[in-house]
Amino acid sequence: MSDEVLFFQEFYITGGDFSSAGTVSTEIKSILKEIGFHPTVVRRAAIACYEAEMNVTMYAERGTVRLSASPAAIKVQFEDRGPGIADISLAMQEGYSTATPEMREIGFGAGMGLPNIKKNSDVFDLSSDVGKGTTLDITINA
């Protein structure tokens, strides 16, 4: 299938704004559904995006989300400005978390997010600069 980009849109996330957390992922899900991707593909992309959006909301100052969709794949980049991740391999371990009680009260911060994003992605690329921010690139094949 073609990898020509049919759709591109940027979204913004404000760190600490828990009342808006999830709105970007909800919108992305609606867009992908409307484009006509298979429901299984839409669900995988929505789950990965929601976990990533929650991470940016919980840990970063602000973030930009770039969604691009082609007939072959959905690509999403989450680029944030924030503390970064000092040890990515540790952060990838299920159950490892630096969440605060406030984060746990809203049902997140159990150390499942990053492994779950990886599980729902076909390509997962996480890079971080401590003190500057984190960039996550994921691809979900159509």
């Binding site: 009342s19 909800t26 899900k29 669900r43 049902g107 499942m112 779950n116």
Partner: protein, 118 residues
Amino acid sequence: MNLKELCGILKCEVLVGEHLEDVEVEGVCAADLMSDVLAFTNAGSVLLTGLSNVQSVITTHVAEVIAVVYVRGKKPDADALKLAGQKGIPLLASPLSMYEACGRLWKEGLKIGSELGG
């Protein structure tokens, strides 16, 4: 089992939703951690939870869970009710504990709606 029958078994008050008899329940997931729901729950399941904020409804929408049952007499907040109304997600409130609610549904033969099911 359909959602209306489930309501009767769990003594639910219907907060959002109509025509519940038309919604078939394929399985059940019980969790307060939304990351667990996102990681393990199958589409088509009902979520039993004690988490009553808007994240419970967003998680339900994203993971394609068909309805939420708030246990222990909890009621969702205004944002959760509003979003559920917009997305057409039934919200139900049961006075039962999580343990009893799960036990009753298990006894009726409902399957585990997650990848962890045996």
